[in-house]
C-alpha cells in the first residue's frame, strides 16, 4: 500500500498540531526515531487537485514520490534506506476516495482505503469478491491507512486487490502532463515493483464493470496464518455457466504471489471455456494454472509448494463459484 501520513481526521489533527506548536519538536508518527534507516524527504506537499500533483512531479522529475497511505512506501524507504526531495500527498484531493456506481460501471477512487472497499455497499452488492479481498489485507491499522492506488502502484506480486480486479478486467485511469489515459489492468504491471506509470503520472481511478447477474466471483487467499500476512498464493475466479448444459460460458482466473506480477491464468481459462464443468475439467484447468504460474522461493515458502497450492486454490475457487451459482435463482 502507499505509505505516509495519516489520512482524514488524523491528518487534520497533525496539521493542527503543526500550526499550534510551532517551534516545538514535532513528534509526528513518521519521523519518530524508531527507524532502522530513516526515511527522509525535504518537502511534503499536500495537493488539492491531480493537476497540482502532476505539476510537482514533473518539476522534480524522478526525485519525488507520490504518497497516499504510506504503509508500503515508508516501510520501503526505511528498509532500503533511500530519501527523496519531495513527497506528494494525494489523499486530500476531493473525490479521489469515492466509490460509486454509474451506467453499469463501478468507479473506485485511487485513495479509497481497503476499509472503504470492504465496507462499501456498492461493492458488497456488485463486486463482493473485491470487498472480500480488501478485508483480508494486513491489519485493521493498515486497512484504515493504506489505499487501493497504493496497493496497485506498489506493484507487489502479492497485492491482494490485484487478482479480483484482474478478473473484472478493470481499467486504470491515469492522469499525467499530457492529460488522462486508460490502461487495462493486466498491462498495468510490468514487473515486481514496476508499473506503466511514468514518474510524473498518478493513478486516479479504477473502473470495473458490475458483475453480470448470472455470474459468480470469489477470492481465496492462502497465508501462513489467518490474519496480518502476505499471501503465499491468492486466487480470484469469475465464472458464468449455461445452467442446462453445465458448460462454462465465462471464466477468468486471477493469480497473486506466483509470478513477477499478478497474472491471469489465460490457458486455464481457454481450456475451460465451453467445456462441461465437472471434476475432471476443473482439475485440468487447475493443473493448467499451475503450469502458468512461475513462483519463486523465499523465506515464506518454496516455489514448489506455491505452485502446488495454485492448483489447490484454483480448484477450490472454481468449486466455490459453482456452489454460489447453484444457489442463485437466476
Amino acid at each position: 500500500m502507499g505509505v505516509g501520513w495519516p489520512r482524514n481526521d488524523v491528518s487534520q489533527a497533525v496539521l493542527k498540531r503543526k500550526t499550534f506548536q510551532k517551534g516545538k519538536v514535532m513528534r509526528d508518527p513518521v519521523s519518530k526515531s524508531h527507524l532502522w534507516k530513516k526515511p527522509c524527504w525535504e518537502k511534503y506537499f499536500r495537493v488539492k487537485t491531480p493537476g497540482e500533483a502532476v505539476q510537482i512531479l514533473e518539476e522534480l522529475q524522478g526525485e519525488s514520490r507520490v504518497i497516499a497511505g504510506g504503509t508500503d512506501l515508508l516501510a520501503r524507504m526505511r528498509q532500503e534506506g533511500f530519501g527523496v526531495k519531495a513527497l506528494v500527498d494525494i489523499t486530500c484531493i476531493p473525490g479521489l476516495g469515492e466509490i460509486r456506481s454509474e451506467d453499469g460501471l463501478i468507479r473506485l477512487g485511487a485513495v479509497a482505503t481497503p476499509k472503504d472497499l470492504s465496507q462499501s455497499s456498492v461493492l458488497r452488492e456488485k463486486a463482493f469478491c473485491l470487498a472480500q479481498a480488501a478485508s483480508q489485507i494486513g491489519t485493521p491499522q493498515i486497512r484504515n491507512l493504506g489505499t487501493l492506488g497504493g496497493n496497485l502502484c506498489n506493484a507487489s506480486p502479492a497485492a491482494d486487490l490485484a487478482p479480483p480486479l484482474l478478473i473484472f478486467e478493470a481499467k486504470a485511469k491515469i492522469a499525467g502532463g499530457k492529460g488522462e489515459r486508460e490502461v487495462p489492468l493486466d498491462s498495468f504491471f510490468t514487473g515486481p515493483g514496476q508499473t506503466v506509470l511514468n514518474p510524473s503520472e498518478i493513478l486516479k481511478e479504477i473502473i470495473i464493470p458490475e458483475l453480470r447477474l448470472d455470474a459468480s466471483a470469489t477470492f481465496l487467499k492462502l497465508g501462513r496464518r489467518k490474519a496480518a500476512d502476505l499471501a503465499l498464493v491468492s486466487v480470484a475466479v469469475l465464472l458464468a455457466m449455461d445452467r442446462k448444459e453445465r458448460t462454462c460460458q465465462l471464466i477468468r482466473i486471477g493469480l497473486g504471489s506466483v509470478a513477477p506480477t499478478p497474472i491471469r491464468a489465460k490457458q486455464a481459462e481457454a481450456f475451460l471455456i465451453g467445456r462441461r464443468l465437472d471434476d475432471r475439467s476443473i482439475q485440468e484447468a487447475a493443473q493448467s494454472a499451475m503450469r502458468e504460474s512461475q513462483p519463486i522461493s523465499d523465506v515464506r515458502a518454496s516455489s514448489q509448494y506455491r505452485r502446488e497450492m495454485v492448483g489447490v486454490m484454483v480448484e477450490r475457487a472454481i468449486r466455490k463459484c459453482l456452489e454460489q451459482l447453484e444457489g442463485k435463482d437466476v
Binding site: 526515531s33 534507516k37 492462502l222 490474519a227 518454496s302
Partner: protein, 788 residues
C-alpha cells in the same frame, strides 16, 4: 475458630498450613490489576516514552561477519562528523570487557574477533540519532574472515573452527540412573527417534531501551525495561571498574520480557552505561526491532536423539537421550549455575519427563557456534525436551496400540514417585488429577480414535484429530543463590509500601504480591503500594524468572509483613486491653477473636504504633530448601517443587494445503493455590498462544549465520485470529513451602502445547512432524511423502 489457624501461622512465622479459601479476604480473589487502568488507558510510560531531551543517542556498530578477526578499526572520519561526541572501541573499556548473565564471555565491544553477525564492534554517542547513524557508516573496520561453524554437531567434531579459545563444548551434563542396557533388554517395544527444535525469538512487543545517567559523585543510574535489574547491576560495575554500590538500576515498565529481557537488558544497559561513563553525559539507547531479532538471546535450538523402551502392557523400562544444545556465540544463560541452574542443566533434568522410569541415561552437550545465542525463554529448556518426551510417548503408544492417555496414566508421577534424578516427590503433586479433569472436560475417550490410514486421509479435504501432552515445571531456579528479600513499611494512616525487586512485566506479579501483603497484614489491596524496582532501594531479589516470583517473594513478603504486623497488633492490644495473641487483623480491622465486637481500626493501631515508638517496618528473606545436583550422575534434588499440567488439543488439518487449524485447547494445571485466578487464566491463555506459535510458525531462519526474518513481516507469531477456544482449568494441591500453598505458573502453560498440537496433527492425518515448526508447507510435504 476462624482465628485459630492464623494464630498458628503468626507464631511459626512461616506459612506451612495453607488456609482454607473461605477464610481469605484478598488471596484467591480476582482483584483488579495494580497497573490495569494505566495500561488500558495508555497512560503508562514505557522506556521509549521518556523525554529524550538532554540525552545523547547511542548506537552499536554490528559485525556483518559470523566469524572474523578484527584487523583495524578506523574511527577518524566518523569522529569528525558534526554532532558526534564519542566513538568507543575495545580499548576504551575501563574495566572488564565482557558481560553475560552467567559467564562474562560476550565483549562489550569486540577487540580481537567477532563471533556472530550482530556482534558489537564499536559504540557511538551523538547529539542526534541521525548523526549517530551517519557515524556508524563512516567507521571503517577491516576484518579477516574465519571459517565459521553453524551446527552444534559440527562444532563438536575435532578440527571444527573454534568459537572460543577453550573449545566449543561449553558444558556437559549427564543423568545416570540404573542400567539402561538392562532396561532395554527388559523392553518388548523400543522406539528411537531424532527431533529438532529451532531458534525462536521472544517477540516481546517493546524493543529494548536503556537510559544511562552519570552523576558528579561517581555513581551512575541506568533505567530501562529490565527483567533482572540486579543482574544488570552486577554486570555494569566490573565493566566500569567501580563497586556495585555505585551502580543504580531502575526498572521502567516492561512491555513483555518472556526471559529475553533478562539478557538483553544487560547487553543494552552495559553499553549505554559505558557511553555515559566515557562522555560524562546522559546517554539513551534504543534497539530497533531488527536489532533485537539480530543480536539478542533466543530460545536454544536443540537436536535431540531419544530412545524409549516399554513392556507390552506399557510399563516404561528405559530411556536414553542425547541433547545437542546449540548455545550460539555466547554463553548467556546456557551454562550451569551450581548446582542445577542454567538452561542446559534444566533441559537435561527435564528430558525424561514426568514419568517413572527405572533406567535412565541422558547426555547433554552445550556447544558454541557462530549463530546468535540461546538464552532464557519462557520454559528455559523445557519446551524443547517436553516436545521430545511427549512426542515419543505418543509414538510409543502407537507402537503398543494403546490409547496415549492410558500409557501416560500408567507411567506418570504421583505422590511418592521417584524422578530420574532420584528426587522423591513427597507433596503437592496432582498430575494424574489434571489428566482426569482435562479428559472429562475435553471428552477425550469419546473423541480419540486411532490415527487414520492413507486412504482415509485422502478421501476428505479436512480432517480433525486430537492430541494430548503432559508436563512438569519447576518453581525456583535450582541455584544456591535463590534467596530474595522484601521490606514492608506501614504508615500511620494504615497505608503500606512494599519494596520488592521482582519485576512486573505484564504477568501481574505486583498485583499478586500486593495481595499476599494485604492478606497477611489484614488490609485491603488498594492500601498496598509496590515501588518500581530500584536497586538502590529494594533488597536483592534475584531475577524475575523460573516461575519463582509468587512463591519465593511471596514467602519473603509474608515474613516481612508478620514482622511489622507484630507492632501493629501490640499497639492494638494496648488500645483494646486484649492480649495480642488473641487479635486478628482482617479488612482494615483488628478484633478480638473471642469477642468480635471488640475491635479497632488498623490505621488507629498503626498511628499508636508510630506514636509509641514501635517498629514500623518489617524485613523478610526467603530462600527455598537447598538444592542439590551432580552434573556427572544427574542425581539430586534440583528444585524444591513442581507445577504439573495436562493439555489436550483438537486440530483440523487441510489435507490438500497442509494448513493446521487449532480448534480447541483444554489445559488443566496443578498450581498449589491460585492467588489471583484471573491472572492465572491470563498466564494460561497467553502461554498456550506462545506454545501454538512454537508448534506451527515461529522460527528464526538462518542462512550462513545471517537472520533472514528480522521483523514481524517475516517472523510469524500467532495473531488473535489464530487463537483456538482455550479452556483453562485450575486444580489446587497446596505446596507446603508456598505462600498460601502457591506454586509457579508463569512458564508452564507454554510447554506442553506444541506436542499436544503435533500429536493431534499425527492423530488427524497420520503424519508425524519431528522438527518444529509444523507450518503448512512442512505438513503438506509430510503428507505427500506418506502418499509416496
Amino acid at each position: 475458630m476462624k482465628g485459630e489457624k492464623r494464630k498458628v501461622i503468626l507464631k511459626e512465622k512461616k506459612v506451612e498450613i495453607p488456609l482454607a479459601k473461605e477464610e481469605l479476604e484478598v488471596v484467591g480473589k480476582q482483584v483488579i490489576r495494580k497497573d490495569g487502568y494505566e495500561k488500558v488507558t495508555g497512560r503508562l510510560k514505557f522506556g521509549a516514552d521518556f523525554d529524550k531531551a538532554g540525552f545523547l543517542h547511542g548506537k552499536v556498530l554490528r559485525s556483518p561477519h559470523a566469524h572474523a578477526l578484527i584487523k583495524k578499526v578506523d574511527v577518524e572520519k566518523a569522529k569528525a562528523l558534526p554532532g558526534v561526541v564519542a566513538i568507543l572501541t575495545a580499548e576504551d573499556v575501563p574495566g572488564r570487557n565482557g558481560f553475560g548473565a552467567i559467564i562474562p564471555d560476550q565483549p562489550v565491544i569486540c577487540g580481537e574477533k567477532v563471533r556472530f553477525i550482530g556482534d558489537g564492534v564499536a559504540l557511538v554517542a551523538a547529539e542526534s540519532e541521525e548523526a549517530a547513524i551517519e557515524a556508524l557508516k563512516l567507521i571503517d573496520v577491516e576484518y579477516e574472515p574465519l571459517s565459521a561453524v553453524f551446527s552444534p554437531v559440527e562444532a563438536m567434531k575435532p578440527g571444527a573452527p573454534k568459537v572460543h579459545e577453550n573449545g566449543n563444548l561449553l558444558t556437559t551434563v549427564r543423568i545416570r540412573k540404573g542400567d539402561t542396557e538392562k532396561g532395554f533388554q527388559e523392553a518388548e517395544v523400543i522406539v528411537e527417534q531424532t527431533y529438532s527444535l529451532p531458534f525462536v525469538e521472544h517477540a516481546y512487543m517493546e524493543p529494548d531501551v536503556a537510559m544511562a545517567i552519570p552523576h558528579e559523585d561517581g555513581t551512575i543510574t541506568v533505567k530501562g525495561p529490565m527483567q533482572a535489574p540486579f543482574t544488570v547491576r552486577r554486570n555494569i560495575a566490573p565493566v566500569l571498574h567501580i563497586p556495585i554500590s555505585k551502580v543504580q538500576c531502575v526498572q521502567t515498565h516492561l512491555g513483555g520480557g518472556f526471559g529475553g529481557k533478562e539478557d538483553s537488558s544487560i547487553d543494552i544497559g552495559v553499553r549505554a552505561a559505558l557511553l555515559a561513563w566515557k562522555t560524562k553525559r546522559p546517554v539513551r539507547m534504543e534497539y530497533e526491532r531488527e536489532e533485537v531479532t539480530l543480536s539478542t538471546a533466543k530460545r536454544h535450538p536443540m537436536i535431540i536423539q531419544c530412545k524409549v523402551g516399554a513392556k507390552r502392557d506399557g510399563t516404561l523400562t528405559a530411556l536414553e537421550g542425547t541433547i545437542y544444545n546449540e548455545q550460539g556465540a555466547y554463553a548467556s544463560l546456557g551454562p550451569i549455575i551450581p548446582p542445577a541452574g542454567g538452561t542446559h542443566a534444566h533441559a537435561v533434568i527435564m528430558l525424561p519427563g514426568p514419568y517413572v522410569i527405572p533406567h535412565v541415561k541422558v547426555d547433554g552437550y552445550l556447544v558454541y557456534t557462530n549463530h546468535p545465542y540461546g538464552g532464557a525463554m519462557r520454559g528455559f529448556g523445557a519446551p524443547q525436551v517436553n516436545f521430545v518426551h511427549e512426542s515419543i510417548i505418543d509414538e510409543l503408544a502407537e507402537a503398543l496400540q494403546m490409547n496415549p492417555y492410558d500409557l501416560r496414566m500408567k507411567n506418570c508421577f504421583e505422590l511418592g514417585s521417584v524422578t530420574a534424578t532420584g528426587q522423591v516427590l513427597d507433596q503437592s503433586i496432582a498430575l494424574k488429577e489434571t489428566m482426569r479433569s482435562a479428559a472429562d472436560q475435553f471428552e477425550w475417550f469419546k473423541r480419540w480414535r486411532p490415527p487414520p490410514s492413507k486412504e482415509e486421509v485422502e478421501k476428505v479435504e479436512k480432517r480433525r484429530g486430537v492430541g494430548m501432552a503432559i508436563g512438569w515445571y519447576r518453581t525456583s531456579i535450582g541455584t544456591f543463590s535463590d534467596g530474595c528479600g522484601a521490606n514492608v513499611y506501614v504508615h500511620e494512616d494504615g497505608s503500606v509500601i512494599l519494596h520488592t525487586g521482582i519485576t512486573e512485566m505484564g504477568q501481574g506479579s505486583h498485583t499478586v504480591l500486593a495481595q499476599i501483603a494485604a492478606e497477611e497484614l489484614g488490609v485491603r489491596i488498594e492500601d498496598v503500594r509496590i515501588v518500581v524496582p530500584d536497586t538502590d532501594i529494594v533488597p536483592e531479589a534475584g531475577p524475575t524468572v523460573g516461575s519463582r516470583s509468587t512463591t519465593l517473594m511471596g514467602n519473603a513478603i509474608i515474613m516481612a509483613s508478620q514482622a511489622v504486623k507484630a507492632s501493629i497488633l501490640e499497639a492494638a492490644s494496648e488500645i483494646l486491653g486484649v492480649p495480642a495473641e488473641r487479635l486478628v487483623a482482617r479488612n482494615r480491622l483488628i478484633f478480638d477473636r473471642d469477642d468480635q465486637t471488640r475491635g479497632v481500626e488498623f490505621k488507629e493501631a498503626a498511628r499508636r504504633a508510630l506514636a509509641t515508638g514501635k517498629r514500623m517496618m518489617g524485613q523478610g528473606w526467603w530462600a527455598p530448601p537447598r538444592p542439590s545436583f551432580d552434573v556427572e550422575t544427574g542425581q539430586g534434588y534440583p528444585y524444591f517443587v513442581y507445577t504439573y499440567n495436562t493439555q489436550m488439543a483438537e486440530v483440523e488439518v487441510d489435507t490438500k494445503t497442509g494448513h493446521v487449524e487449532v480448534i480447541k485447547v483444554v489445559a488443566c494445571f496443578d498450581i498449589g493455590r491460585a492467588i489471583n485466578p484471573i491472572l492465572v487464566e491470563g498466564q494460561i491463555e497467553g502461554g498456550i498462544m506462545m506454545g501454538l506459535g512454537y508448534a506451527m510458525m515461529e522460527e528464526v531462519l538462518l542462512k550462513e549465520g545471517k537472520v533472514q526474518n528480522l521483523n514481524f513481516q517475516d517472523y510469524m507469531i500467532p495473531t488473535a485470529m489464530d487463537a483456538p477456544e482455550i479452556v483453562p482449568m485450575i486444580l489446587e494441591d497446596p505446596n507446603r513451602y508456598g505462600p498460601f500453598g502457591a506454586k509457579g505458573i508463569g512458564e508452564m502453560p507454554n510447554i506442553p502445547t506444541a506436542p499436544a498440537i503435533i500429536n493431534a496433527v499425527a492423530n488427524a492425518v497420520g503424519v508425524r512432524i519431528r522438527d518444529l515448526p509444523a507450518h503448512s508447507e512442512k505438513v503438506f510435504h509430510a503428507m505427500r511423502g506418506r502418499r509416496g
